[in-house]
């Protein structure tokens, strides 16, 4: 149980892990997440379920290497097991027929958005995907996203693939051109600043905008309150009330400040870890 079946580095520092987890695979729905621990001394880290195969009893996790915990997870290889794997957690996405829908995936946000896009398309939506990354080398799952999209727009900051610029530009253009109001919903998942900018972009068009928040968590089951966010002036817990929220109601500035709480500790931990790894 919770053994890694296969692991590949999709693009530099982004890993795909296929994990044997039959119980989670049997229940997982788009939008949900798991909590993993790499080893006994590790942190509890939430990761979105990027795909699941009920027949094979596997789930797919996408991991971006940032600090100690993600490095420890990325060092696990096929055949290794997580110290802990818990899920599926969080509310699943509401899969409705919106007519047309824009799915904005920024960077590693492609992972969570993929199963949601697939489910929405199966529901009958016309899916317009805007997939963005800093450059061509950091784009992954283009083929998968293309397969679940009626339209697939790529953007890169440097223009090395698709259109040069940010995801918000085609998003604005699409909404501005949507005179018939066929676009019923926008999903935006990626770095916090991108989700904020997408929410700001869609606000004047008054289109429902759903974001999936990646707050710091400990237990993931509602018990600690560490993942709290301010939604429409109320305190909500990302783990049990989310992770998806109305992007227009999120207090982005407090959310971003909360993501920086442990910045100094994280640096200290990483320096120590890199030192340990290099001498071992």
């Amino acid at each position: 149980m919770s053994r890694i079946v296969n692991k590949t580095e999709l693009v530099p520092n982004i890993h795909e892990m296929l994990v044997e987890a039959p119980q989670i695979a049997a229940k997982a729905l788009p939008g949900q997440f798991v909590v993993v621990m790499a080893d006994e001394t590790g942190e509890r880290v939430p990761l979105t379920i990027a795909d699941f195969d009920r027949d094979q009893g596997t789930i797919t996790l996408i991991l971006m290497v940032v600090g100690t915990s993600s490095r420890k997870l990325a060092r696990l290889r096929a055949g290794d097991a997580f110290h802990a794997l818990l899920g599926p957690l969080g509310h699943p996405s509401e899969i409705e027929d919106y007519g047309s829908i824009i799915m904005v995936a920024g960077g590693v946000g492609t992972a969570p958005i993929y199963p949601i896009a697939r489910a929405l398309r199966d529901k009958g939506n016309r899916v317009i995907t805007i997939q963005g990354a800093r450059n061509r080398d950091l784009l992954f799952w283009r083929d998968r996203m293309a397969a679940v999209s009626d339209e697939h727009i790529i953007t890169t900051d440097d223009g090395s693939a698709g259109r040069k610029g940010l995801v918000t530009e085609p998003l604005r253009e699409r909404l501005a051109a949507d005179n018939g109001k066929t676009i019923g919903c926008v999903y935006a998942i990626g770095p916090t600043i991108m989700m904020k900018c997408c929410s700001d972009t869609t606000r004047p068009f008054d289109v429902r905008t759903i974001v999936s928040l990646n707050t710091i968590m400990v237990d993931g089951t509602g018990m600690c309150g560490g993942c709290r966010v301010e939604i429409g002036g109320e305190t909500r817990f990302t783990c049990v009330d989310g992770p998806e929220f109305d992007g227009h109601l999120v207090n982005w500035s407090t959310m971003m400040a909360r993501q920086r709480i442990y910045h100094t500790s994280e640096q200290c931990s990483l320096t120590r870890y890199l030192d340990e790894v290099s001498t071992s």
Partner: protein
């Protein structure tokens, strides 16, 4: 041995306050065999066993105390374990002063017998001398019981039913069993090695523990009974979502719910960061909001993590503090400062998203409220500010909806807690519940008492 001193209890040695305020070692050091015997000799061995009636799990107190007096220490531990699977835990965290010891006849004139200290001694003696023996179990009866949550109530149900011949599986959401004993109560009050050892005893008895299982999500209760062949289910999922105050600035960094602060420290061992990866904000001036045992635990933890000033900010007066007297006493000894009759108004940040100060309102006591305690009311025009870089909110919590919302047919009360009778029977067939998910926040031993009654009821139902 010296003459029996009926008046005064035998003191238990403790770590010196100045030393212990900077380490996570256990505070009380426990009795030596001589001290335990000296204390046990104080027991009057009353005919009417009031102390037993005061124990939620009905430990045969006079019998085990007598065994200690007779130097039969391991036998004393086994006597306790006949009705209490977690004696080393209970000897440390039970509020004996309001239970067994409050009924002790000695206490009418003098100091009551130190029952908790003796319980702890017996359990520690047995464990530390490797004298733990497994009791006789009834032969397997072919029936299976699922227990949700490896906290005090669930462990008690497991301990009772495994001896009666049931197949017992505990499902626990965390990566370590113990529930609040593991994530909530600090190391210096309940060493985690002791929790592990008591859980291990249950495992040796045959209890299966499945970690990292969030029942309601990975498996539902209906699946446990319908697909997985469990004849009964006990729900003991414990504490719920922490309350916040709903005041300005509570999203700031350095403002924690006590659940998070303690879980980071105890379960994730943030006090050993960076050896353990989970970090924690360390404050120089810490404010803990609330006056219960959890507030005391948080305050004393902050002190050990290096805080120079730790304040307990509580809106009533000292007389109304809900924490155990011993916890308040220990906190005071360790230099925790009680700012009484004060309520927070708002938190202010330092511009970098971290808390910097707290605005407070001075309070005074007015007329008694529904709880019978005098209601704190704001003192007009009396506000003050505390500079603080760490705030821990310890004002309790509500019911966790994760399991209950995914369980059709189980009646909940208005506040989201499971409705159950005294034996723990819920409105859902074959499902019992106990502990905090039924009563709201209470004590370890009350949860264990609920587990004991539920185990009895489950046995009656399945063997009838």
């Amino acid at each position: 041995m010296s003459a029996v001193n009926r008046q005064q209890r035998t003191p238990m040695p403790e770590q010196d306050p100045a030393t212990r305020a900077r380490n996570f070692e256990e505070v009380p050091l426990g009795y030596t065999p001589e001290q335990a015997q000296q204390e046990a000799a104080r027991c009057l061995n009353c005919k009417k066993r009031e102390c037993v009636a005061g124990c939620p799990v009905e430990v045969d107190i006079p019998a085990f105390v007598h065994l200690i007096a007779e130097s039969e220490f391991a036998a004393a531990a086994r006597k306790i374990k006949e009705t209490n699977a977690l004696p080393a835990v209970c000897g440390r965290v039970c509020p004996q002063e309001s239970q067994c010891e409050s009924k002790c006849v000695l206490g009418k004139k003098w100091e009551p017998l130190a029952i908790g200290r003796l319980e702890r001694f017996a359990a520690d003696y047995e464990r530390m001398n490797n004298l733990v023996e497994l009791p006789e179990k009834q032969p397997p009866n072919g029936k299976k019981v699922a227990i949700i949550g490896a906290g005090p109530s669930g462990l008690t149900v497991a301990g009772d039913l495994i001896l009666l011949g049931y197949g017992v599986t505990i499902f626990e959401a965390f990566h370590r069993p113990g529930g609040v004993l593991m994530y909530g109560i600090p190391e210096f009050r309940l060493p985690k090695a002791i929790v592990e050892s008591e859980v291990d005893y249950l495992r040796q008895l045959g209890v299966r523990i499945e970690l990292n299982q969030v029942i309601g999500r990975s498996i539902t209760i209906d699946e446990l009974t319908e697909d997985l062949g469990f004849d009964a289910v006990f729900v003991g999922v414990g504490a719920g979502l922490p309350y916040f105050l709903g005041i300005e600035g509570e999203q700031l960094g350095g403002v924690y719910a006590a659940n998070e602060y303690l879980t980071r420290t105890n379960l994730m061992r943030a006090y050993r960061f960076p050896e353990y990866d989970t970090p924690i904000v360390k404050g120089r001036t810490v404010c803990v909001l609330g006056g219960g045992n959890v507030a005391m635990d948080a305050a004393r933890t902050a002190r050990r993590l290096g805080a120079e000033h730790v304040y307990i900010v509580y809106r009533r007066s000292k007389a109304e503090l809900p924490a155990r007297a011993e916890e308040v006493h220990h906190a005071e000894e360790e230099g925790i400062i009680f700012k009484l009759l004060a309520a927070p108004l708002a938190f202010e940040g330092n511009g970098d998203g971290m808390v910097q100060r707290m605005r407070c309102q001075e309070m005074e006591l007015g007329e008694p409220d529904d709880s019978g305690r005098r209601r704190p009311v704001p003192k007009a025009g009396c506000e003050f500010t505390i500079e603080t870089d760490l705030v821990i909110v310890a004002i309790g919590g509500g019911a966790n909806p994760l399991l209950t919302k995914s369980t059709p047919g189980m009646e909940l009360n208005r506040r989201g807690y499971i409705v159950a009778d005294d034996a723990g029977k819920t409105s859902k067939p074959r499902v019992w519940a106990g502990g905090d998910i039924v009563t709201g926040s209470a004590t370890v031993i009350e949860a264990m008492g609920a587990g004991r009654r539920a185990a009895r009821a489950i046995h009656e139902c399945l063997s009838g």
